[in-house]
């Protein structure tokens, strides 16, 4: 398969379900955002906050881990199209903010995963990394999916 053929194959694959690659990204990003909110909520519960939620324990921890894994999977097609096909662009403020913030998303994700596994770090490190990652996803969603749904069309 040629390099140009990869983009064509990706488009063909995605448009079997969605109307366009941009629509697919908008919905994958929305799913990732919802799962990121689940991540923040369950993390808060793990840290003893939001006591109105079910008791913290293995179930909350399992929901936290799996929502993170699925959110990561949802970002992969978005990453593929944004980074390897469209690239870094700055034609206007919205796209520039999206490009700049998007550059950091996997860097912050990797840092967060490393912080989870390093128990020698101070207690504030993990919530800071987690909230940074969630904030990045919110900004990326606002500058892409929300723009698409409100400006172009709301649909699959």
């Amino acid at each position: 398969m040629t390099i140009a053929g990869v983009a064509e194959t990706y488009t063909d694959l995605v448009t079997t379900v969605f109307s366009s690659t941009i629509a697919a990204k908008a919905w994958f990003a929305s799913a990732a955002l919802i799962l990121a909110l689940v991540q923040v909520t369950t993390a808060a519960r793990i840290y003893g906050k939001l006591s109105f939620l079910p008791e913290r324990g293995p179930t909350i921890a399992r929901i936290h881990r799996w929502s993170g894994r699925i959110a990561f999977l949802c970002t992969l097609p978005v990453f593929f199209h944004c980074v390897t096909i469209l690239g870094f662009q700055t034609p206007d403020a919205r796209v520039a903010i999206h490009s700049i913030v998007g550059t950091f998303v996997y860097g912050v994700f990797v840092a967060k995963v490393l912080i989870v596994r390093d128990h020698s770090l101070p207690g504030w490190a993990l919530p800071t990394a987690g909230l940074s990652l969630a904030s990045i996803l919110v900004v990326l969603w606002l500058t892409s999916a929300l723009w698409y749904f409100t400006t172009v069309r709301f649909g699959f």
């Binding site: 983009a7 490190a125 400006t151």
Partner: protein, 116 residues
């Protein structure tokens, strides 16, 4: 340097790698040679246009949204292809690709052709 810097350094390296990958656009489709557009079907393109483009360019490309009117503006296929592929202003690059792009280009060229 303390061990605490490791996540930040590795995360920073991943961000730099992401930026490099984005600059390379390794899978971006190249423009057709000589600016020639692939064969498109304007009737199929009209359907795609109404779905993806009319929100900004108006029904039939007659304007009314955030994008410019395209009707009777004399655009050629190479110019339309370039804008669809690369984006312009608030319009994102690659909003339609592949055969749909060729079809939309054919449709936009047909509506932008001056009728007089």
């Amino acid at each position: 340097m303390g061990r605490g810097w490791r996540p930040i350094l590795i995360g920073g390296a991943v961000a730099v790698g992401t930026f490099a990958l984005a600059q390379a656009q390794v899978f971006a489709p190249s423009a057709p040679a000589g600016g020639a557009a692939a064969a498109g079907d304007s009737s199929r393109g009209e359907t795609v246009f109404q779905r993806e483009c009319a929100g900004c360019h108006g029904d039939g490309g007659k304007g009314g949204g955030v994008g410019p009117a395209l009707f009777e503006t004399g655009l050629d296929a190479a110019e339309v292809s370039a804008v669809v592929q690369q984006g312009r202003g608030v319009m994102p690059a690659g909003i339609v690709t592949g055969q749909e792009q060729a079809d939309v280009v054919a449709y936009v060229v047909s509506v932008s052709s001056p009728s007089g």
